[in-house]
Amino acid sequence: MTKKQQQPIEVFMPPNVLKQKVGGTSASIDMSAVKRAEQALETLKTEFGDWIAADVQMLSASRDAFAAEASPERQGDLYRASHDLRGQARTFEFPLVERVATSLCRLLDAPGAAKAIALVDAHVGAIHVIVRDKIKDRNNPMASTLAKELETRVGEFLAQPARS
């Protein structure tokens, strides 16, 4: 038995300070609070167009930096920009941007992504077009076909044995 294994494992319940602080019970949650929060999000919706435009601009800038120098840091920046869109685009009412950004994250997660800069560009271009044309319907025939094609190409790239 190693020294680590000999050390005891301690399990304990810290005092529930949060509960002491807020009191009440979940059964008595004021559901109007949820309505107020939804209204707050509705108010923010007027800004969503500008927000997604800013996120797409960040994606383009990260793409340019990655194309100029395919370092792990710049790949990380591009991944983060894509990951932000993946996480927020549906909230901003652009579900197909979420789908394309998810595909781009999958590509950038793989070793050798720098060799697929054309495929990276195709994703960034698709996101640009979807936002520019305000395509908010996830079933839009042109955009969903494009998203499916990009997903297929990423799958093919990832299946290549010697990509790294």
Partner: protein, 179 residues
């Protein structure tokens, strides 16, 4: 009586300004009066130490210190003001391997993006009503990584023989994350 959310102090950590705005708008609408924001792990650590929030909404992917690194620091650093702080990881990662990574870093709850008023409320309610027991092992300090106690389990204690259980409240004088 409903929760007194106005008594909560919440820290929102995300490098994306828009996500911080949305989360802040949601928790303020719930009645939380004291909301702090930080755009990266370093500033978050400083605010955590200075302001001692009750709940931290933590983004995973940030430049510099990641959310996972922040969570580990909050749990185990001798400088942590509260190693038991409720940490809600907010992320677009939803695969099981990511949930396991977050769990192993000491995250209390997992909130998948895109967020909604209901999903945020559900996680806040979870950390208030269903606090996790804490575990100290040679390799880990943080919330118990088992989501539930299986009362019907009749097998051997899987953590091994050296498990000690402490009573509720005895952790009050717990030192700050020595694992």
């Amino acid at each position: 009586m409903g929760y007194r959310f106005d008594r909560l102090r919440i820290l929102i950590v995300d490098d994306n300004l828009h996500m911080r705005k949305m989360l802040s708008a949601i928790v303020r609408a719930f009645g939380v009066a004291t909301v702090f924001e930080a755009p990266n792990g370093v500033q978050a650590w400083s605010k955590f130490r200075d302001l001692n929030p009750d709940i931290i909404f933590l983004d995973w992917m940030m430049p510099g210190m990641t959310g996972l690194e922040f969570a580990r620091l909050a749990r185990t650093s001798p400088d942590s003001p509260n190693p038991y702080v409720a940490i809600i990881m907010v992320t677009a990662y939803t695969q099981l391997e990511h949930v396991h990574q977050a769990r192993d870093a000491g995250v209390t709850e997992f909130l998948a993006k895109p967020i909604s008023a209901n999903s945020v409320l559900a996680r806040i309610t979870a950390v208030i009503e269903n606090p996790r027991s804490f575990v100290r092992t040679p390799d880990y300090f943080g919330p118990c990584r088992r989501r539930r106690n299986d009362e019907s389990y009749r097998g051997p204690e899987r953590r091994g023989a050296g498990v000690t259980q402490r009573a509720a409240g005895s952790a009050a004088a717990e030192n700050r994350g020595t694992a």
